[in-house]
């Protein structure tokens, strides 16, 4: 048996801000251009990929975020178990998409760390390190953007009022989390 050791082990809480990693969460990058690709995904997951920029879609099991005209990240809404990394959704899509040459499916479950932020200070935190204009974003549930936070690439998903899911590459995650805590401690 292999032990499962995720990137960010501690949960942090400040007035108006809580931060923790959510794991394990299956994450897939799906790529494709053709119309058949979109419909095949739709059928396989009964989830339509968002085609409008900076938006997301959601089914009971899955959430899909727009990353670019031919790239999406799909992640599971519920956490999976730690002693198994065989995801039937990946297998299903590999069968229906990759094998039929409609597009590409790549497992990025551990490529990205999903940090969940809650509280009314989230955007005050972001403002100390991100040039992005959150004025409208903060009120648009479901919005998605890729930008820079503390010089690090992040995907930011507006999960809910005062709740954000932030995706960052694993090797950057400790640095970013430490930076966020340092900033949060002075908000």
């Amino acid at each position: 048996m292999l032990n499962y050791i995720n990137a960010i082990t501690e949960e942090k809480s400040y007035s108006g801000l809580q931060m923790k990693e959510i794991k394990p969460v299956m994450k897939l990058i799906v790529r494709g251009k053709k119309r058949e690709f979109l419909s095949a995904i739709g059928k396989s997951l009964n989830l339509l990929l968002p085609t409008e920029a900076n938006t997301s879609t959601r089914s009971e099991k899955l959430t899909a975020l727009w990353l670019s005209p031919d790239e999406w990240i799909i992640y599971s809404n519920k956490i999976s178990d730690t002693d198994n990394n065989n995801y039937e959704i990946e297998n299903l899509l590999t069968k229906n998409i990759t094998k039929t040459n409609l597009g590409a499916i790549t497992d990025v479950t551990d490529q990205f760390v999903l940090i969940n932020l809650k509280g009314d200070k989230i955007f005050d935190l972001f403002q100390t390190g991100s040039p992005f204009n959150f004025n409208n974003f903060r009120n648009k549930k479901g919005s998605v953007i890729q930008t820079i936070l503390a010089k690090i690439d992040v995907i930011i998903h507006n999960e809910n009022q005062n709740e954000i899911n932030l995706f960052v590459r694993r090797s950057f995650s400790h640095h970013l989390f430490s930076w966020m805590n340092d900033s949060a401690s002075r908000l």
Binding site: A53, L67, P69, E71, P131, Q146, T147, I148, D153
Partner: protein, 91 residues
């Protein structure tokens, strides 16, 4: 610092982008047929225009897509952006 209207993501800060130099320099289809001079022309020689320049940018920290920009290099005014393969919206 500019605000750049990424043709895919919308208006973003310049810090999310990288510049990729002069646009519409197509890689020769048959490099082996070219003389050293012709190859050097493709490889190194640039218009480096003062004024309206057609250039390439990429949204590195966003959608990672390359696109074209028309910018006045004398005052950094961005005149237009357009997708790769599209016709320039202005001459």
């Amino acid at each position: 610092m500019f605000i750049i209207n990424c043709p895919y993501c919308g208006e973003r800060e310049q810090s999310e982008f990288k510049a990729g130099g002069e646009a519409h320099i197509v890689r020769p289809k048959q490099p082996t047929e070219l003389s050293d001079d012709e190859w050097a022309e493709y490889l190194f020689m640039r218009k480096n225009i003062k004024g309206i320049q057609f250039e390439r940018w990429v949204h590195t920290h966003g959608c990672r897509k390359w696109f074209n920009m028309i910018r006045d290099t004398s005052n950094d005014e961005i005149k237009a952006v357009y997708k790769m393969g599209d016709k320039p919206p202005i001459k």
